[in-house]
C-alpha cells in the first residue's frame, strides 16, 4: 500500500529519493549544472541565478571598499596627517558591511535591473510578460527581504552550533596539547583578522543555510500541496511575477535609455569611483611629470645617441659582446619554445574535455591538467626567473627554465582549447570505420590541429623573445644582463644601444612570425 498522500514517509520516499537519484545521475554524467524550471523556463541555478547575485554583491563590496578608502583619504586630507593614520571602525562594522552589501544587492535586483541581471539577460515580468511596475517591484522587495532575513536568521542560528562545536573542540584539542589551526593563524594577527575569520564563517553559513532553506521550502511545499511544483520563490508568488529572459519580454513604448537605468547609473558610478580611487592609489602626480622632465634633458640626449661600441667588441667588465647577448636571448627563447612544444603537446590532450574519457578518473586528469595550466600561466616568467636564479644560480639556464614552465602552461592551454574546438565529424567518421583510439587521434584530430598548433608555437616564440629580454634583467642571462649592468653604471649611451637592439629584434620577430602565421592558417 502506498504511503498516505502528504505523509512524512512519502516526503522521504519521493521527494528526497528523487533528489538523491537525480544528484547521483548528474554526478555520473559529469554534469555540474542541474536545470530547474520556473514557469516553463529552464534555469541553470549556478549560472543563471547565483552568479548574477554574486556579481552584484561583489560590485557593491567594491563600492563599499572605495567608500572606506575615500573616507580614510578625506580624513587624512582634512586633518593634514600622513598615510599611517586610519579612521577607526569597530570590528563588527565589517560584518555589518558584508550583510548590508548583500541586502543592498537584493534591493538592487528587486527595484531595478542590476548589472548581474543585465549581463545574465534576466528580467522580472508580470503574468502578461510585461516588465514589472514600480509598486509590485517594491512589494516584491519587501517579501524578498523578509525571506532573506529569515535565511540570515537561519544562518545565524546555524552559526550557534558551529561556535559551540568550535569552542568544545578548542577546549578538547588545546587540553590535548594541540591547537585549532584557525585560532593559531588568526589570533596573533590581531582583532581585525579574527573578525575576518568570522566574516568568512558568516558567508559560508549564509550559503549553507540559504541552500538548506531553499530545498527545505521546496520539500515542505510539495509535502503540503502534493502535485504542485514548488519552484517559484515566495516573493514571486505574492506579487504574481516571474523571472524570464529579456528576449521573451513583451515591450511596449520606447525603451529607457541605458544611462537612466539602474545598471547604467551604477556602471557610471563604479567607473567614476574606481578611476578616482585608482588615481589616488597609483599616486599620480602631474606636477612631477612637468618639473622633472625639464631637468632630465641630458639623460634623454644620451639615450637617443646610442653607442654601439660593444656590439662586436667584448665589454671589458662583462667579457662579452652585445651581439652574443642578443643571440643568447633568441636561443633561450627558441629552446624554451621547442621544449615547451614537445612537453605541452601530450599534456594538451589530457586537458581537452573531448579527449579524456568521461568517467571520474578522466575528470580528475582533466581538472589537474587544467589547474597546472592556469597556475603556470598566472605566475609571470619574470617571477619564476627570480626564483630559479636564486636556487640554480644566475645565468641563461635559470631564465630558460622560467620561460619553459610558462610556455608549457600557456601553449598547453591554447592547444587544449584548440582541440576542444575541433569538428567532431571526422572523429565520428574514423570511429565508425573501426579505428582505435590512437588511430582516431592520428587521423581525426591531429590533421585538424596541426596548423593552429604551429601558429600558436610561432607566436609563442615571438612572445618568448620579448620575455627573455626582460628576464635577463633579473639574472636570466642574455641581452637583459647588459641592460641591467649599463643601467646600474648609468651608462645611458649603451643603454640606448641595448634598447635599439631589443626593439629591432622584437620587431623583426613580430613581423616574420606574423607573416608565417598568415600563410599557415
Amino acid at each position: 500500500m502506498p504511503p498516505r498522500v502528504g505523509s512524512f514517509a512519502r516526503l522521504l520516499s519521493t521527494r528526497w529519493g528523487a533528489l538523491a537519484k537525480r544528484a547521483a545521475r548528474s554526478i555520473r554524467a559529469g554534469t555540474k549544472h542541474v536545470a530547474n524550471v520556473w514557469n516553463g523556463m529552464r534555469f541553470r541555478v549556478p549560472k543563471d541565478r547565483i552568479a548574477p547575485l554574486a556579481a552584484d554583491w561583489g560590485l557593491l563590496v567594491l563600492l563599499s571598499y572605495c567608500t572606506y578608502f575615500l573616507i580614510n583619504h578625506w580624513y587624512r586630507a582634512l586633518n593634514n596627517v600622513s598615510a599611517v593614520y586610519r579612521v577607526h571602525f569597530p570590528n563588527y562594522a565589517y560584518v555589518v558591511a558584508v550583510v548590508a552589501t548583500f541586502l543592498l544587492a537584493v534591493l538592487w535586483e528587486n527595484l531595478g535591473t542590476s548589472i548581474g541581471w543585465k549581463s545574465a539577460g534576466l528580467v522580472r515580468a508580470d503574468t502578461a510578460n510585461r516588465p514589472l511596475r514600480f509598486l509590485p517591484r517594491a512589494a516584491h522587495f519587501f517579501v524578498d527581504l523578509a525571506a532573506w532575513s529569515l535565511t540570515a536568521l537561519a544562518a545565524a542560528l546555524a552559526l550557534v552550533p558551529f561556535a559551540g562545536l568550535a569552542t568544545l573542540l578548542y577546549g578538547v584539542v588545546s587540553r590535548a596539547g594541540l591547537m585549532l589551526i584557525p585560532t593559531v593563524v588568526f589570533r596573533p594577527l590581531g582583532p581585525w583578522y579574527t573578525t575576518f575569520g568570522w566574516v568568512i564563517a558568516l558567508v559560508l553559513a549564509l550559503i549553507v543555510a540559504g541552500t538548506a532553506s531553499w530545498w527545505g521550502a521546496r520539500a515542505l511545499w510539495s509535502w503540503l500541496w502534493p502535485g504542485r511544483k514548488a519552484e517559484r520563490p515566495w516573493a514571486d508568488r505574492v506579487v504574481g511575477s516571474h523571472v524570464c529572459k529579456a528576449s521573451d519580454l513583451e515591450r511596449s513604448g520606447r525603451p529607457c535609455p541605458w544611462w537612466r537605468t539602474s545598471w547604467g547609473l551604477m556602471a557610471l558610478l563604479l567607473v567614476a569611483v574606481s578611476v578616482y580611487v585608482g588615481w589616488l592609489t597609483a599616486q599620480v602626480n602631474l606636477s612631477t611629470l612637468v618639473h622633472r622632465a625639464s631637468s632630465t634633458g641630458d639623460y634623454w640626449q644620451k639615450l637617443v645617441t646610442p653607442d654601439f661600441k660593444y656590439f662586436l667588441a667584448p665589454e671589458p667588465d662583462l667579457h662579452d659582446t652585445m651581439l652574443n647577448g642578443i643571440i643568447q636571448t633568441i636561443f633561450m627563447a627558441l629552446l624554451a619554445t621547442l621544449l615547451g612544444f614537445v612537453l605541452a603537446l601530450p599534456l594538451s590532450f589530457l586537458g581537452a574535455r573531448n579527449m579524456v574519457t568521461k568517467n571520474r578518473l578522466g575528470w580528475g586528469i582533466y581538472t589537474l591538467t587544467r589547474a597546472f595550466f592556469n597556475i603556470g600561466r598566472s605566475i609571470e616568467p619574470f617571477v619564476m626567473a627570480v626564483l630559479f636564479a636564486t636556487t640554480l644560480g644566475y645565468g641563461p639556464f635559470a631564465g630558460c627554465l622560467a620561460l619553459l614552465v610558462h610556455t608549457i602552461a600557456a601553449l598547453g592551454k591554447l592547444y587544449s582549447e584548440q582541440i576542444e574546438a575541433i569538428d567532431p565529424g571526422p572523429v565520428e567518421a574514423i570511429t565508425a570505420c573501426g579505428g582505435g583510439r590512437t588511430q582516431v587521434l592520428r587521423y581525426g584530430v591531429v590533421p585538424q590541429v596541426v596548423p593552429p598548433f604551429l601558429a600558436f608555437t610561432l607566436y609563442r616564440w615571438d612572445i618568448n623573445v620579448r620575455m627573455a629580454t626582460v628576464i635577463g634583467m633579473v639574472g636570466g642571462g642574455g641581452i637583459g644582463r647588459f641592460f641591467n649592468y649599463f643601467k646600474n653604471e648609468l651608462r645611458w649611451h649603451e643603454v640606448g644601444a641595448v634598447i635599439v637592439i631589443i626593439a629591432v629584434v622584437v620587431w623583426i620577430m613580430d613581423y616574420v612570425s606574423g607573416r608565417v602565421r598568415e600563410r599557415i592558417t
Binding site: A429, C433, G435
Partner: protein
C-alpha cells in the same frame, strides 16, 4: 532473399541531459539486400537510430543483432570488428578537410590495416590499390592528391562513399547523405548507393528528407515520429493520409526529381 541481417529489438535511447526520449521501443528487421529508407521530421530519432546500430551512440536498452550476434555488448577489438563491417555516410561528409582525398579514403581501411604503420601514415600496398579502385568507382581518381576542402559538396560526398567502400561493408548507414546537396547531385549520390545495393548486395539503411527520393530508391520505408516507428511498409503505401500522420497536419509534400 528474405534473410534477416539486422534485427533491432525494443531499442530505447534516453539522453540524460534534459530527459529526451530519442528512441522509444523501436523494433525492426532489415533483410539482406534491402534498401531501407528512414523518414521522419528533424529530431524524430533517425540519426540516433543509425548511430545506435554502429554504437557511435550507446543505446539505453534493447538489443541489436547483426547476423544473429548481439552487438550491444561488444567492447574493444570486438566492437571495432563490428564497426568495420558497417560503412557510414554522413550528412556533412565528415571528411578531414585539410587532408588529401587519398588519405581520407585510406582512413576507411583503418579497421583492417596494421595499427603500427598507419600511425606514421603507411598503408599496405593492396589497401592503396583498393583506394585507387574506389576513387575510380566514384570517378574522382584524378583528384586523389587534392585537399578535401577544395572539392565541391557532391565530390566530397563521393569521397565519403569511397571511404565507406574501403570497408568492404555488408551494411551501409547513410545519415541524410543528400540534405546538404542540390537535387541533381543528390540523385547521383543516391545512384552510387543504389549501385552498391544492386551490384554487391550491400544492405543500405538511408535516412532521407524527401519522400520523392524515398519512393524512388527505397525498397522499404520506415517512418519515425518522436522516436517511435509509426509506419513500416512499401514506398507505394505512403498516401496522403499516412503522409499527414508522419509529418503532421500542416505538412505539404515537396517534389524533388
Amino acid at each position: 532473399m528474405a534473410e534477416p541481417q539486422l534485427v533491432i529489438e525494443h531499442l530505447t535511447k534516453v539522453y540524460e541531459r534534459g530527459d529526451v526520449h530519442a528512441l522509444r521501443d523501436v523494433s525492426l528487421t532489415v533483410n539482406r539486400g534491402d534498401f531501407l529508407v528512414l523518414i521522419g521530421l528533424s529530431g524524430s530519432g533517425k540519426s540516433t537510430l543509425l548511430r545506435c546500430i554502429n554504437r557511435l551512440i550507446e543505446p539505453t536498452s534493447g538489443r541489436i543483432l547483426l547476423d544473429g550476434v548481439d552487438i550491444t555488448q561488444a567492447k574493444g577489438a570486438e566492437l571495432r570488428k563490428v564497426r568495420r563491417r558497417i560503412g557510414m555516410v554522413f550528412q556533412h561528409f565528415n571528411l578531414v578537410k585539410r587532408s588529401s582525398v587519398l588519405t581520407n579514403v585510406l582512413a576507411g581501411r583503418l579497421g583492417y590495416a596494421p595499427p603500427g604503420p598507419t600511425l606514421i601514415g603507411r598503408f599496405p600496398r593492396e589497401d592503396v590499390d583498393r583506394a585507387h579502385q574506389s576513387l575510380e568507382t566514384v570517378g574522382l581518381l584524378e583528384k586523389m592528391y587534392t585537399r578535401a576542402d577544395q572539392l565541391s559538396g557532391g565530390q566530397q560526398q563521393r569521397v565519403g562513399i569511397a571511404r565507406a567502400l574501403m570497408q568492404e561493408p555488408e551494411l551501409i548507414l547513410a545519415d541524410e547523405p543528400v540534405s546538404a546537396l542540390d537535387p541533381a547531385t543528390a540523385n547521383s549520390i543516391l545512384q552510387y548507393l543504389e549501385a552498391m545495393n544492386h551490384q554487391h548486395g550491400v544492405t543500405v539503411i538511408c535516412a532521407l528528407h524527401f519522400l520523392s527520393l524515398a519512393r524512388r530508391y527505397g525498397t522499404r520505408i520506415i517512418a519515425l515520429k518522436d522516436g517511435a516507428v509509426v509506419f513500416e511498409g512499401l514506398p507505394k503505401e505512403i498516401d496522403n493520409v499516412r503522409f499527414k500522420e508522419i509529418y503532421g497536419e500542416d505538412a505539404e509534400e515537396v517534389e524533388v526529381r
